[in-house]
């Protein structure tokens, strides 16, 4: 469904035939390696992360943004966007999130801000799917307000001691390395943040898995760092430049969230339409009632609008133009829509929509994270409003 009739439109600015072939390959992988296992994994609240990351790495799903020298197939942001869209169709928001967080968060920061040595050490294995990466910014006491983080990194001898806690960290409990944001100048607010790479097993690092309403297969973690020592080479990029670095990478995180939300919304709408067609009430399929036909039309329309808006943001980004406003628009609009679609999809399922044996409840739970993660809808609207000098 992702390659809709619209495929011919954005191709003018984005997709080539090689991209279409690549998309078909990713789709086959998702259909073979993920979809058949989703129910089992969701029930278990877990999935064989090591094994799946390795397979995805071999498929090249983590390397579209990087040059061959790091094991990548790029750099090609459009290809990376396609991978996101196809992963979003896997049927489990948690699996898509785990693979996506690795693709777009921790390792991506190492590529963007790391030295050649850091890239060789952490990025190459990550691209191959041999290691798992994560990003830790949010804290128990601060989410949207990134400048207010309290985790502290103090210079000691040849390295740093980091103390603080981090919350809601996707892949945190299974990660081999985590990019951690910490204050190196506690007086300075936004201008006192730096990024560090903390490896699993570092002394003073403790990780606890958090239970979540959706994304239940993925491992969401709380990290506690107590005088956690990292060597000097763990500093990623320039000291005190962490905030602008985060803001830069947040753009890609938000674009892929929008892309994933549109693809997931299509999938959920298909699910709802299929159910509505076969479920009978008052002598005809529920989907044949005019009120449902019009609701489906409305949702499908908004999905196409979200698609166009998201591709607009992507097109600008790929062209190297600043697109903070457009990316923020796409992020909130697409993720809110995904959840609205899931809520309507749940509604047409009636009582079955409320039962765990039907997949629609998962779409409903999983999609709820969209308007929260990666910058809330409220923060997106702040950014957009401020872009108009308000």
């Amino acid at each position: 469904m992702t390659a809709t009739r619209f495929a011919t439109i954005p191709r003018a600015g984005l997709f080539t035939e090689a991209h279409d072939e690549m998309r078909a390959g990713v789709r086959r992988f998702v259909d073979r390696a993920i979809r058949p296992h989703v129910e089992e994994w969701e029930t278990a609240g877990d999935f064989p992360a090591r094994e799946l990351f390795r397979q995805a790495g071999q498929m090249g799903l983590f390397g579209a943004k990087y040059e061959e020298v790091y094991g990548g197939t790029g750099p090609d942001l459009v290809a990376d966007a396609i991978i996101t869209e196809e992963l979003a169709r896997c049927g489990s928001g948690g699996v898509a999130a785990a693979l996506g967080a690795h693709k777009d968060l921790g390792p991506y920061y190492i590529y963007r801000f790391g030295t050649e040595q850091q890239r060789q050490r952490w990025l190459v294995a990550a691209v191959a799917g041999e290691s798992i990466g994560a990003l830790a910014v949010t804290e128990p006491g601060t989410g949207s307000d990134v400048g207010a983080i309290r985790t502290r990194a103090v210079h000691v001898g040849e390295g740093w001691r980091i103390s603080g806690s981090k919350a809601f960290i996707t892949n945190g409990p299974v990660a081999d390395f985590i990019v951690v944001a910490a204050k190196t100048d506690p007086e300075a607010g936004r201008t006192g943040i730096s990024l560090f790479v903390v490896e699993a097993g570092a002394p003073g690092l403790a990780v606890r898995r958090m239970e979540t309403v959706g994304w239940r297969t993925s491992h969401t973690g709380e990290l506690v760092l107590e005088d956690c020592y990292v060597p000097h080479e763990a500093l990623l990029g320039q000291e005190n430049k962490g905030f602008p670095q985060l803001m830069e990478c947040f753009q890609w995180e938000r674009i892929v969230m929008a892309l994933g939300a549109v693809a997931a919304a299509r999938q959920t709408l298909d699910l709802a339409v299929a159910y509505g067609r076969q479920r009978q009430a008052f002598g005809r399929p529920v989907a044949a009632f005019q009120t449902w036909r019009h609701r489906f039309a409305e949702l499908a329309t908004q999905i196409e609008a979200a698609q166009s808006l998201t591709y607009h943001a992507l097109r600008k980004t790929v062209a190297g133009e600043g697109a903070v406003r457009e990316v923020s628009m796409a992020k909130w609009y697409a993720t809110e829509l995904d959840w609205r679609v899931a809520d309507e999809a749940l509604q047409i399922h009636g009582g079955y929509g409320y039962m765990m044996e039907f997949p629609v409840q998962r779409a409903w739970r999983d999609s709820r994270l969209g308007p929260i993660g990666g910058g809330t809808t409220e923060i997106m609207k702040e950014i957009i409003g401020r872009s108009y000098d308000l």
Binding site: F296, A297, T301, A306, S308, I384, R386, L390
Partner: protein, 381 residues
């Protein structure tokens, strides 16, 4: 960067059109709104400038352009400050005349298309009837074969340009028993005996354009008045409606952006409780929401127009553009009226005019409800 629908040449064209609209049309807009009429010279002037034939081939006096140009014109016409003028121009250039190029004979093109492109003959399009709007197949205007021609009887209503048109592209039934295969299009001169303007309609918005109810009583037309194939009229008019919906949405979305810009300026200047009202978080988020939805509408329009330009027939997506634009534009303009407060309700700011004008998009060219019908049918529902 430009959307792939446009090239830098389109943007140069935009600058030219904007200058014309701002210097020659906009200064009169308020008068025309008050008079509920704009003069015929507008057609002639735009025709002289080549703006009524943007997508038509040079051999008929057109500019040989594409849908990118048509959309630029619709967007820039919105700047004239009177949406009714833009609508009348769109009827002339993108609704009543494209079927002549597509289905017409050489003689019909010479007789109607060429002068319409010049702005010398004003065109109208007759689809709706007093008793049949959304249900196009329910129209009852009939054209009966008689001798070498046809005898036409019926009523048409809500006809833009109807009171002053020189010819009408008319949808009729030629065979009552043939279902959807029983419709035919005609090009009818409005000065023929039996053709009359039964009344002019007073409207809530779009007041500068004229809207008429037409009566056809035993109007005799020759066979050469038949446009396209006898019996193919329904399919032909459905094709026409696709371009109509795109161009209608383009003008309305552009108009809403202008209202958004004005309201943004106002919200920065206007203070209350010690700060400009735009900086209240609730209002800042309102602007963010409006801008997001308007941008989504615009991008969906551009993507779809590009598909249409490239020869696809994306009926579902065009209906989506029309539906989405109608909803968003109305929501946005209503919110802007709210932000303007009392000044929004006062005639002098023109915000209430945009509010009234934009309401039509959810009715004309196919209602929201019909759009949802078309979309859900295309989804197999």
């Amino acid at each position: 960067m430009l959307h792939p629908l446009f090239t830098p040449e389109h943007e140069e064209f935009r600058v030219t059109v904007r200058a014309v609209v701002e210097s020659e049309v906009a200064p009169h807009a308020l008068d025309w709104e008050r008079e509920a009429h704009f003069p015929d010279w507008v057609f002639k002037r735009l025709g002289d400038l080549g703006l009524l034939g943007l997508r038509y081939p040079a051999e008929y006096g057109g500019q040989g352009g594409d849908w990118g140009h048509a959309i630029v014109l619709a967007e820039e016409m919105a700047r004239c400050g009177s949406a009714g003028v833009g609508m009348a121009v769109a009827v002339q250039s993108e609704m009543a005349t494209p079927p002549i190029l597509k289905f017409g004979t050489e003689e019909q093109k010479q007789r109607y298309l060429v002068p319409a492109i010049r702005g010398e003959k004003i065109a109208c399009l007759g689809i709706s009837e007093p008793d049949a709007g959304s249900d196009v197949a329910g129209i009852s205007t009939t054209a009966k074969r008689e001798g070498d021609g046809y005898r036409i009887n019926g009523r048409k209503t809500f006809i833009t340009n109807g009171a002053r048109a020189h010819f009408c592209l008319l949808v009729t039934r030629t065979d009552r028993n043939a279902g959807y295969e029983g419709f035919s299009l005609f090009l009818v001169d409005t000065d023929l005996p039996g053709f009359s303007v039964s009344r002019e309609l007073n409207k809530l918005g779009m007041r500068s354009s004229d809207t008429a109810e037409l009566a056809l009583d035993d109007v005799l037309v020759p066979s050469s008045a038949l446009l396209g194939e006898d019996g193919r009229g329904f399919v032909e008019i459905m094709w026409e409606l696709q371009g109509e919906r795109l161009i209608g949405a383009a003008g309305s979305v552009a108009g809403a952006w202008l209202v958004f810009d004005r309201t943004l300026r106002y919200a920065k200047e206007r203070t209350a409780f010690g700060s400009s009202i735009g900086t209240f978080q609730v209002n800042r988020h309102k602007f963010a929401t409006m801008a997001t939805e308007l941008e989504a509408a615009r991008q969906l329009l551009y993507d779809t127009a590009l598909a249409w330009e490239r020869g696809e027939y994306p009926v579902k997506e065009i209906s989506m553009v029309k539906l989405y634009a109608g909803e968003v534009v109305n929501r946005v303009v209503n919110e802007c009226l709210q932000l303007f407060g009392g000044y929004g309700y006062a005639t002098e700011t023109g915000i209430e005019r945009a509010w009234r004008d934009s309401r039509l998009l959810r009715i004309g060219g196919g209602t929201d409800e019909i759009m949802r019908e078309v979309i859900s049918k295309a989804m197999g529902l």
